[in-house]
């Protein structure tokens, strides 16, 4: 990272579901344009809460969140999305009662003019969705749902996409496809911030990584360095995959 303003700058963030009991306790994270950044850490480290606070789904109690230099701390979600962030929650990330096409229209809710064009782009990017556009999202497999969730989050052309455990429940093959997609997105100009349990595979496709523990920054570094870091390896990259 150079001296330029990062795309996303989270500075000393405190956030949690219950006021006065923050789960995220002073975390700082930065994401530059064209970067894939992965956050790893044990269960209860506050990874998901951090993402939700960035999106405005969890109240912020202290610290600052800026997107491209603009303060977005405490904005309601729909305004954070409008400011240029796409979000894929970990679970229930598609509308199962809506069709694939309707899911994408919902994702493009903030668009005024370019809806048809973005729909075509989404179908071009994920052909499997195009074939099923009139079917309910509940008919999709786990991997297809993840693709729909990502396509949905991309409808508004965000500068940053935030993924909460995008490979949870997917086979290693599909997980690698998701990570490759993340890489491709970053190269196409959409920065990626993700939380992952599948730390090793995620870091391999990332530029940088953060290790959180107990709501605080523990280790920060280039992804390649984290993969080589003995402490990280012992705690998170060990032979076995972490339980979700």
């Amino acid at each position: 990272m150079s001296g330029a303003t990062p795309l996303l700058q989270v500075d000393g963030l405190f956030a949690g579901y219950v006021r006065g009991l923050p789960i995220v306790q002073g975390v700082s994270v930065e994401v530059a344009a064209h970067e894939v950044v992965t956050i790893i850490g044990p269960n209860g480290a506050g990874k998901s809460t951090l993402l939700k606070a960035v999106i405005g789904l969890v109240p912020v109690e202290g610290g600052r969140i800026a997107l491209a230099g603009r303060d977005i701390t405490g904005l309601p979600s729909h305004q954070v999305i409008a400011a240029g962030v796409g979000y894929v929650p970990q679970t229930a990330n598609v509308f199962t009662t809506l069709t694939i096409g309707e899911n994408l229209v919902a994702g493009g809710h903030l668009l005024r003019a370019k809806l048809a064009e973005r729909l075509e782009r989404a179908y071009a990017m994920f052909p499997v969705l195009a074939d099923k556009r009139r079917e309910r999202a509940r008919t999709l497999s786990g991997g297809q749902r993840q693709m729909l969730a990502i396509a949905r989050a991309l409808m508004t052309d965000p500068a940053l996409i935030v993924l909460d455990e995008p490979t949870a429940g997917l086979s290693p093959l599909l997980a690698n496809e998701v990570f490759a997609r993340a890489r491709a997105l970053a190269e196409g100009g959409v920065a990626v911030l993700m939380v992952e349990q599948n730390a090793k595979a995620a870091l391999r496709q990332s530029d940088r990584g953060y290790v959180l523990a107990e709501g605080r920054n523990r280790i920060t570094g280039r992804a390649a360095d984290l993969l080589d870091n003995a402490e990280v390896a012992a705690a998170f990259l060990g032979g076995k995959r972490q339980a979700a």
Partner: protein
């Protein structure tokens, strides 16, 4: 006999369905049973009466007991009642939602609110029944042994038209899709950039407006009374639950079921039993299909 009962059932059922749409949508999107919804019917009916007091009900037109003025009054009352419902949300329900109140707290609040709304009507307009128009109508024999008032046919057609328009709106419009998205998952729809408070506002405007029309229709055939809404309360809930919470066709079909069941059962059991009929039907349907006739289970629902 049975033909007339079925016809009467369809006529009352259509109005119940119209009123039940708001109950169903509120329950789906805000996750609470709004017991004050029935009073929106009453308020809509009386607001239309207020407007009719200024512009009149109009000269009888095309066999109906009223002219375009009553229709205009009904539409204006629908708009006002929608706004009233939204205002009540801002004053009462939104505050409770904001403070993280339990769903049951909202249910009880709606109960109290309903009492206040009903007695305000009594205070402002009195106990005795009121009429939009004193015009007498003669029921036409549309089929052998089946008599229907022209007003009733008009109400049925208008209801069908409104429901069809609402269906198109929910299915194809961006706002309609956003409403259905928020109905399934408020959290995920926020992550799509959908302003859930705006969806809630739309829900009140639509639910309140339709309740007002249902209120005007019950006031037209036969009369306006402060108890009009309250007496339909249980029928509205039965229709909404029977059809499946959150489903527009469900609310309408549920309303028709309830209306027909009430009227047909009158042929075989004592009228004192009339109000129990919707519940017998409800129990039967819920045993066979817990999510209601048209309801969809959300994934993750317990």
């Amino acid at each position: 006999m049975i033909g007339q009962a079925l016809t009467d059932g369809v006529l009352t059922g259509a109005v119940i369905g119209l009123g039940a749409i708001g109950v169903s949508f509120t329950m789906q999107i805000m996750r609470f049973a709004n017991f004050s919804h029935a009073e929106l019917l009453t308020w809509g009916g009386y607001l239309a009466l207020l407007i009719v007091g200024f512009i009149g009900a109009g000269a009888p037109t095309a066999g109906l007991s009223f002219g375009w003025q009553l229709l205009a009054a009904a539409l204006l009352a629908a708009a006002l009642t929608g706004l009233l419902a939204w205002m009540i949300d801002r004053l009462v329900f939104r505050r409770l939602r904001g403070s993280g109140a339990h769903h049951l707290t909202l249910v009880f609040a709606s109960f109290g609110l309903g009492l206040v709304m009903r007695h305000l009507v009594v205070l402002l307009w009195g106990h005795e029944s009121r009429f939009y128009t004193r015009e007498l109508q003669i029921a036409n024999e549309v089929l052998p042994g089946i008599r229907v008032l022209p007003d009733q046919i008009f109400i049925l057609l208008l209801t069908l038209l409104i429901v069809a328009a609402l269906h198109l709106f929910l299915t194809y419009s961006r706002t309609g899709i956003a409403m259905r998205a928020a109905a399934e998952s408020p959290g995920l729809s926020q992550a799509c950039g959908i302003d859930v408070e705006r969806v809630i506002r739309n829900t009140w405007l639509i639910g309140g407006g339709l309740a007002a029309l249902a209120g005007v229709f019950t006031g037209l055939t036969p009369q306006l009374n402060p108890e009009n809404g309250a007496s339909l309360l249980l029928a509205l809930f039965s229709a909404a639950i029977l059809g499946g919470i959150g489903s527009l066709p469900g609310a309408v079909v549920g309303g028709l079921f309830v209306g027909i069941a009430e009227n047909v059962m009158l042929l075989v059991v004592s009228p004192g039993f009339k109000q129990a009929m919707p519940f017998m039907l409800l129990l039967l349907v819920l045993v066979l299909r817990p999510q209601g006739l048209f309801g969809e289970r959300r994934e993750g629902d317990r």
